[in-house]
C-alpha cells in the first residue's frame, strides 16, 4: 500500500484530501423552482431568482435537505440538528448573485467515515470531515467567440453536496477507491446519479507531499473540477511528482488552484483564480438556520436502503461469496439487485460466477451496462435453474446464454426450440460411448495403458456425437468404467 516517490534527497510520501461535489437528485433547484435536468436549451432552466434579479429571494427546497441528510447517514456521519447557510462572496461571470449560498461554519453533516477496499484485499477507513450543501454555478463557454465568453445559467442554483475528506489518503488507488465508494453510496441512496461525464459528480483534488517520516503537512495545491476517476489519478500522480521536484530543487510549492488538462495529463495554474481569496463568509440574511428534529432524521434513517457495505457482509456471511465477488457485485445497486434475483433460491456462488464472468464479459464486449442488459435477471436465473436440474450441461448453458444475449429470449424456450435438453438416458449415452471406443481403438488402448489424459479426448468425442447434450459427468464415468483394466 505504500506509495513512495523516490527523490534525490529522500523518499516522499503523498497526502491526498478530496472534495467531492455531488449534484443532488431533485426536480427543482436548491433555492428556486426552476428545473435541474441536464441538456436543456441554454438559459431555459433559469428563473429570475437564479439570474439574481434585484430583489429576488431564495426559498429552500425541502427535498434537497432530506437528500443531504440521507447521504450523511450513508456516510456514517453525524447529522447536525442546526446548520446555517452562509454567503461565499466572490465575483465570477457564471455566479449571478456575486456570492454562492453555501454552508461554512455550521454544515448539515459532520464527521463521517467511509470504508474502502483495495486491490490487495486490505480495507481502510477514510475519515470524512463534513458534507455541506451549496449552489452550483452556471457555465462559462469560451469556444464560441474569440473575444467573448458566453454564459449559460442553467446549472446556476442546482443543489450540490460537497463531501470533504480529511487529508487521509496516501495513494492514487485509495483516492480512486474512495471516489468510487462515494459514487456507489449516493447511487444506492438515489441522492446523486454519480454521472461524472455530465458533471453531476466531480472532485477537487488536494495534494501535498512530505518526506517519509514527517508528520506535518506541507503546502497543498488544489486541482479543480476533475471529472473522472482516471483523470483524478493522473492529476494526483502529476502533482505529486511536480511537488517533489519543486521541493528537491530547493523551491517552495505555491498554494494555488490548478486545472487538469486531460489531453496532456498535466495540471496548470488557473489564471482566473490567481488573486488571493477572501470569501467573506457570513450567514445569509435572506435565510434562517436549518433546524432538524430527531424525528425527521429518524424517518429518513428508517427508510434507508441496504448500503453496499452491509450488503457485502450479507453476501459473504449468508451466501458464502468471496470478499472479491461480493465487492464486485455490490459496487452498483443495479448489479446487486440483478444478482439477488439471479441467486434467489439457487447456488449463490454459481450465480455470482455467471454474473461476474459471463454476463459482465458479454456486456463489456457489447459496450452495454447492466441497466440495458439483453439478458434479464429472471432469465439468467432460469438458465441457472436449467443447469441445476441437469436439463442442460454447463457447456450448453454457455451456448444458450449467447443466444439469450443476442435475442433476449427465455432460456427454457431456447432449449425447447433447439432441442438442447441434456441426454440423461444412460442407454443413449452408452451407445455413444461404445461407438466412440469402437471407432478409436488406438486411443482406447492408450487409456487402458494408463494415459489418463486421453480420457478427456474421449469425452470430447462423445459430446460431439451427442451435440453436447450428454451429461459430461455421466460420460466420463461410463468411459472410465469401460476402459478400466
Amino acid at each position: 500500500m505504500s506509495y513512495l516517490i523516490k527523490g534525490e534527497t529522500a523518499d516522499w510520501e503523498l497526502v491526498i484530501g478530496l472534495e467531492v461535489h455531488a449534484q443532488v437528485i431533485s426536480n427543482s433547484k436548491l433555492f428556486s423552482g426552476s428545473a435541474t435536468s441536464f441538456g436543456a436549451d441554454p438559459n431555459s432552466h433559469v428563473s429570475l431568482v437564479d439570474a439574481a434579479m434585484p430583489g429576488m429571494l431564495p426559498v429552500i427546497n425541502a427535498h434537497c435537505i432530506d437528500q443531504a441528510i440521507k447521504t450523511g447517514l450513508g456516510l456514517n456521519a453525524v447529522i447536525n440538528r442546526h446548520s446555517v447557510f452562509e454567503r461565499k462572496n466572490y465575483f465570477y461571470a457564471d455566479l449571478p448573485q456575486g456570492y454562492q449560498i453555501s454552508q461554512f461554519l455550521h454544515p448539515i453533516v459532520g464527521e463521517g467515515m467511509l470504508e474502502i477496499q483495495l486491490k490487495d484485499g486490505s480495507i481502510r477507513e477514510i475519515a470524512i470531515e463534513r458534507l455541506h450543501m451549496e449552489q452550483d454555478a452556471g457555465k462559462s463557454i469560451h469556444d464560441k467567440d474569440p473575444r467573448r465568453t458566453y454564459i449559460d445559467l442553467n446549472r446556476a442554483g442546482v443543489c450540490l453536496m460537497e463531501i470533504v475528506s480529511h487529508p487521509a489518503m496516501y495513494t492514487p488507488e485509495e483516492a480512486a477507491a474512495y471516489v468510487r465508494k462515494i459514487r456507489s453510496i449516493v447511487r444506492y441512496l438515489e441522492t446523486c446519479d454519480g454521472n461524472m461525464e455530465e458533471g453531476s459528480m466531480r472532485a477537487d483534488v488536494n495534494v501535498s507531499v512530505r518526506k517519509f517520516g514527517e508528520t506535518g503537512l506541507r503546502t497543498r495545491t488544489e486541482t479543480k473540477n476533475v471529472n473522472s476517476v482516471r483523470f483524478m489519478m493522473q492529476a494526483i500522480e502529476f502533482e505529486a511528482q511536480r511537488h517533489v521536484e519543486v521541493w528537491e530543487s530547493g523551491g517552495e510549492v505555491k498554494q494555488e488552484t490548478r486545472l487538469f488538462d486531460p489531453d496532456t495529463g498535466e495540471t496548470r495554474p488557473m489564471r482566473s483564480k490567481e488573486e488571493a481569496h477572501d470569501y467573506r463568509y457570513f450567514p445569509d440574511p435572506d435565510l434562517l438556520p436549518v433546524e432538524l428534529s430527531e424525528a425527521q432524521i429518524d424517518a429518513i434513517r428508517s427508510a434507508m436502503p441496504e448500503l453496499p457495505d452491509e450488503k457485502k457482509r450479507r453476501f459473504m456471511a449468508e451466501l458464502g461469496l468471496s470478499a472479491y465477488d461480493a465487492d464486485v457485485l455490490v459496487a452498483e445497486r443495479e448489479t446487486a439487485n440483478y444478482f439477488e434475483i439471479v441467486a434467489k433460491g439457487r447456488d449463490a456462488k454459481v450465480a455470482a460466477n455467471w454474473v461476474i464472468s459471463n454476463l459482465f464479459g458479454a456486456l463489456n464486449a457489447a459496450d452495454k451496462d447492466i441497466s440495458n442488459s439483453p439478458v434479464s435477471a429472471q432469465n439468467l436465473g432460469k438458465l441457472l435453474g436449467l443447469m441445476a436440474n441437469e436439463t442442460i450441461s454447463g457447456r450448453i448453458a454457455k451456448e444458450v446464454f449467447e443466444i439469450m444475449f443476442e435475442t433476449g429470449s427465455d432460456p427454457e424456450k431456447i432449449v425447447q426450440e433447439k432441442g438442447l435438453k441434456q441426454i440423461t438416458d444412460s442407454g443413449a449415452i452408452e451407445a455413444a460411448v461404445d461407438q466412440a471406443i469402437a471407432d478409436n481403438p488406438d486411443q482406447a488402448d492408450e487409456v487402458r495403458q494408463g494415459n489418463g489424459k486421453a480420457i478427456g479426448w474421449f469425452v470430447g468425442q462423445v459430446m460431439q456425437k451427442t451435440q453436447g447434450k450428454a451429461n459430461p459427468q455421466a460420460v466420463n464415468k461410463m468411459l472410465r468404467d469401460k476402459l478400466s483394466t
Binding site: N27, N43, S47, S140, H142, T149, Y150, D152, P285
Partner: protein, 95 residues
Amino acid sequence: MSLDTDTVRKIAVLARIKIDDEKLSPLASELNNIIGWVEQLSEVDTDGISPMTSVAEMTMPVRADVITDGDCEDRVLANAPQKVAPYFTVPRVVE
C-alpha cells in the same frame, strides 16, 4: 486597527470597484474615521452572548420539490446590456 492605502486597494479589488490611485489616500482616511468610530463597540461586554443574525423568530420555511419556474429566457435576458441570445456575454475569460 487602521486601513492603509494598501488595504483599501485590496478591499477595492475584492469589491471590484476601480479606485484611482490619487483617491486611495483620502478614501483611506474617510474609511478610517468610520472604522475608528465603530470600534467603540469593543467597550461592550459580549461574553457569552450569541451573535444575532436574524430578528425573525421563526423556523425556516421550505418549499416542495416541484418545478414552478424557468422557461423564460426572454425575461431573463430582457435587460442584458450585452448578449448573444440565448446567452449573456462577458469579455473573454481565460481559465
